[in-house]
């Protein structure tokens, strides 16, 4: 059984000095998941990295939630394309080696 590390939403918000409503807005937009245990909201530690990125987008770069959603979608596409390029480069090596023979 995997151990889940959960961080209370309230505690996280206090630590980062952000509004709890921001976390709930992210959840409503499907950008993060909140686990509720005995009426308290928790964030899985696995999501921290992503969540801190959203905080930077919102508070430092002044990007609204719609913008964050769009960026996340585009970054996923960039990442997928990057992986595809790597796979294609590896495949290309097969044919480049053939030409050298």
């Amino acid at each position: 059984m995997n151990t889940e590390y959960l961080i209370a939403v309230d505690q996280f918000c206090a630590c980062h000095d952000i509004e709890v409503s921001f976390i709930h807005s992210l959840q409503q937009n499907g950008l993060i998941e909140i686990t509720t245990v005995e009426n308290t909201g928790f964030i899985d530690a696995e999501q921290l990295r992503q969540l801190e990125k959203y905080i930077r987008f919102y508070y430092e770069l002044d990007i609204n939630l719609e913008g964050i959603e769009t960026i996340v979608h585009l970054l996923q596409r960039v990442n997928a394309q990057h992986q595809e390029i790597t796979a294609l480069r590896n495949r290309l090596l097969l044919y480049e080696d053939d030409q050298e023979r």
Binding site: Y59, L61, D62, R89, N90, L94
Partner: protein
């Protein structure tokens, strides 16, 4: 050490208001922020400059010092002494969020003028995750065939990592907590290692499968027989069917590359036969081929 023109970096002039600075910073940060430009070292460098410029110009005290002594930064210390002498106010403290942990390495110029680390004027002790580090590890194909331990050096620190068998060229693995140190008790960043796998073997790799072209003499190709093949896992005996055609392929199941993080699972090895026509034939051999041709 060169003078750094923070106004130029943010594309503003010296009369810029706090709002102008904020707008210029945000506009440039949206373009160069490392979160928006993953794996782009140029963007990271640009962002560090932008962040540094913002750190100075958005803080009235630092901006004043910069404006007054910027190009003559050597005199900054005298300014500090004078300031201490005349210290009357506790200085304004910002409560707004500015800068980011990606600020990381500030220029020598910044440290010379303002000392310490960025964000020193913040009233809150924000906990920041450390910077993520990236590194490249070069391996030979044969090295990637078996799980092994390897020591790498990142930012002066030696780290022992396990390289799992079957890792692919270009694959990135994350080593948690081995990035830069966290700020104010924040967690360390992560280390991302990109594997660059060179291949100087006779095998070509595509995913978990290996491909090789081997020479086969004409007589074995025509009459059939057995050959000994070198694989990455030792030698194997391979039966060659009679009348094997040039360019024909055989598959050796499970003799390919190990499947990443799936112990005991292997891809296949595909052998293509390149049939070699004998050269320097004797008269007798030529005669025999002539007879064959006529038969």
């Amino acid at each position: 050490m060169n003078f750094v023109d923070y106004y130029k970096i943010l594309g503003i002039d010296k009369s810029a208001t706090a709002k102008d600075i904020k707008n210029a910073y945000r506009k440039l940060a949206r373009k160069h922020h490392p979160d928006l430009n993953p794996n782009d070292k140029d963007a990271q460098k640009n962002f560090q400059q932008i962040n540094e410029a913002n750190e100075v110009l958005s803080d009235p005290e630092k901006r004043k010092k910069y404006d007054e002594y910027g190009e003559n930064w050597q005199h900054a210390e005298e300014f500090e002494k004078q300031k201490q002498y005349n210290q009357q106010s506790s200085g304004s403290r910002r409560t707004s969020r500015s800068g980011t942990q990606y600020g990381g390495d500030f220029s020598e110029f910044f440290e010379s003028m303002f000392g310490g680390t960025p964000g020193g004027s913040r009233s809150r002790q924000m906990k920041y995750r450390g910077e993520d580090y990236t590194s490249e590890l070069h391996l030979e194909l044969i090295d990637a065939y078996t799980t092994h331990q390897q020591t790498i050096s990142v930012n002066g620190q030696k780290i022992r990592i396990t390289v799992p068998a079957g890792i692919e060229n270009g694959q990135i693995i994350k080593i948690s907590g081995h990035g830069g140190s966290g700020v104010n008790g924040g967690p360390n960043g992560d280390l991302y290692i990109t594997f660059s796998i060179a291949n100087h073997s006779i095998f070509k790799r595509l995913g978990n499968n290996l491909y090789a072209t081997i020479d086969l003499d004409l007589y074995t190709a025509v009459l059939g027989g057995e050959i000994i093949l070198d694989t990455l896992n030792g030698k194997v005996k391979l039966k060659v069917k009679p009348e094997t055609q040039n360019g024909s392929k055989v598959k050796l199941k499970g003799k390919g590359f190990p499947v990443y993080k799936k112990e005991g699972l292997f891809g296949d090895l595909f052998i293509t036969f390149s049939i070699q026509i004998p050269t320097n034939l004797t008269d007798q051999q030529k005669e025999l081929f002539t007879q064959l041709a006529k038969s």
